[in-house]
Symmetry: C2
Subunit: 340 residues, 2 copies
DNA sequence: ATGAAAGCGCTAACAG
DNA sequence: CTGTTAGCGCTTTCAT
């Protein structure tokens, strides 16, 4: 109980305290190999009494195995990624693996740096958001020799495996649904899509889908920073002032859409009769608004689960490299997309 | 560029490729000690060409130093913790340290497990949410010999340092403000506070504060699970049906408060004239609601920053152990707390 | 069922 | 400025 020195305990301490060789102590602590019940108990008792915590650094170096999976995502405040994480955790919890998160803030150089840090810990696998990475990052991933799963997006070529949805298709499908519902004068409101490739692809797919129906976007507005709900409100106000004839507002995410919806309700617009509205993501958080915003589920938790499963399977040897899984998001018309 | 074998590269590979000793390669890669510009460039070139990524496991074992800070929090989907994280990152980015997150889901046993895993990587410090931990967890933290900062809460005794607010006091202050504004018939709506000690302390402080004014809570309702916004709506409806005479609704967090507020607005209640409302946390996300919910800033980002700073300072030797920092949350009356 | 020896890839501490 | 020698704390491998 008393341990005046500050040196962390080692296997040797447990070995001496229990009178059992280091090797056998190690076996007991890892449940490996045959150890008699008697010595096992002696060891466990000693370890617990001392408060021994094994040193994974030494263990990993010796065994050349690290039960860590690097998860590299842009942000935690986005609502989207915590749900992906929860899918990943759900699956990894059934294994020996542990997720370790690195954040990129949507910046390629930061991604490169974080990836380098992560790989220097020799993780057993990498789950990384997006298909766009700079050359250095791609080289590292390819050279790492470990399973890599790129997630969220399937519009592109993965380094190894990928799990996601086609954002281009998601945009197209939403355009199709909007046109089918009879809307024609359409405004787009989105985040400034400089570095958010998936938002950009959705936007491209959307205009493409409209074009097929002979329709062009009538107005658009982009924002960056600030509270999404408030921004949605402001942008909607600005756009409806500028283009009062719009009959549909498509938002690049549910939060700004919700802000817009609240404003429209306040102003007494007939939604979805006169003006339809839709967002993107299927954010559960927003259930509870006066009207349910039409949206499209982005399959976040499932993406996390499938990605984690790919890594887990690869490590047990059951899995194949180069898997490409495209999930199919479904449109939820909510109360803001008129039904035909 | 070609590397048929799958064995990761080592310092030795770089050493051989550059014709410089391993030790000097190591010096170059870590910017330690004096190395001539000529050899430095030779080494850097070789390392880059091979795509060498150092093995931190070996480095950590040899140097007995790990630039990792464990951050142990209940959840990432809570809105509160991502902001704490962002404060932590902001400070650690100015240092060599890297945060590593572990999630407990508010479960003490899981906290113990996660902590054990974390400590087994011998991090340089621990930042952990809350002051309540089971015996094993406390023993590990105390025995770890590294700086420990418990965050969020200051109502209790820390193992080492703590940074947070007094939730008991926060509840009391809100009670005082509500009474001062003239409200008397008060309902409380909160999350089921089984394992959320901070919510519990706020509740206790709140009833205590009311008691000082001779007032007792008239009705209360607790929820668990589901979408907070929707729950707030449902709970508010239920409570107002049951206790139509209430003139104030205090919510244990902003999200359920927002749901309640939306419902009240829809039903045409005069807020804050007839009924006042308040939440807790100062969630920025919610700016953009029709009315701004009264709330109390929980200083999340600052807590993260201060905690990270304590760890960083301890490691450079400038800092002291046992720091106790209590921040003072301020009430934001928004539009739902009548001003006197 | 248990132990002894060797070494994982790197860095600290010395030499030169 | 550069190199050599010993480990870091554990696990692998091979004996017993």
């Amino acid at each position: 109980m008393t341990r005046p020195e500050t040196r962390p305990l080692t296997l040797r301490d447990v070995s001496e305290a229990s009178g059992v060789s280091e090797m056998t102590v190690s076996r007991v602590l890892r449940n490996r190999g045959d150890v008699s019940e008697a010595t096992r108990e002696k060891v466990l008792l000693a370890a617990k009494r001392l408060g021994y915590v094994p040193n994974k650094i030494a263990g990993a170096l010796a065994s050349q195995r690290v039960n860590l999976v690097s998860v590299i995502i842009p942000s935690m405040t986005n609502l989207v990624f915590p749900e992906v994480m929860s899918g990943i955790s759900k699956v990894l919890e059934t294994t020996e693996l542990q997720p370790v998160v690195g954040l990129t803030d949507y910046l390629p150089e930061k991604e490169e740096k974080v990836l380098y840090e992560m790989l220097s810990w020799r993780p057993s696998g990498v789950i990384i958001a997006g298909l766009e990475h700079n050359d250095a990052a791609r080289a590292m991933l390819r050279g790492s020799g470990i399973p890599v799963v790129e997630i969220m997006d399937t519009d592109g070529t993965p380094i190894d495996s990928m799990v996601g949805i086609s954002h281009r298709r998601a945009g197209r499908e939403m355009a199709k649904a909007i046109l089918a519902a009879g809307y024609r004068r359409i405004g787009f409101l989105g985040s400034a899509i400089g570095l958010d490739h998936r938002a950009r692809k959705r936007f491209e797919g959307f205009t493409e889908g409209l074009a097929k129906g002979g329709v062009e976007i009538e107005d658009h507005e982009f924002y960056s920073g600030g509270s999404a709900l408030a921004k949605g409100r402001e942008m909607t106000e600005a756009m409806m002032a500028r283009s009062p004839d719009l009959d549909f507002l498509y938002y690049s995410n549910d939060l700004i859409g919700a802000g817009g919806l609240l404003w429209m309700i306040e102003k007494g617009y007939d939604v979805p009769g006169k003006v339809g509205m839709a967002g993107f993501n299927g954010v559960r958080l927003l259930k509870g608004l006066p009207q349910r915003l039409a949206t499209m589920d982005s399959c976040r938790e499932e993406i996390g689960m499938r990605a984690a499963q790919i890594i887990a399977d690869r490590l047990t040897g059951e899995g194949e490299a180069g898997q490409k899984i495209e999930l199919t998001p479904t449109i939820d018309p909510g109360d803001t997309l008129r039904q035909v």
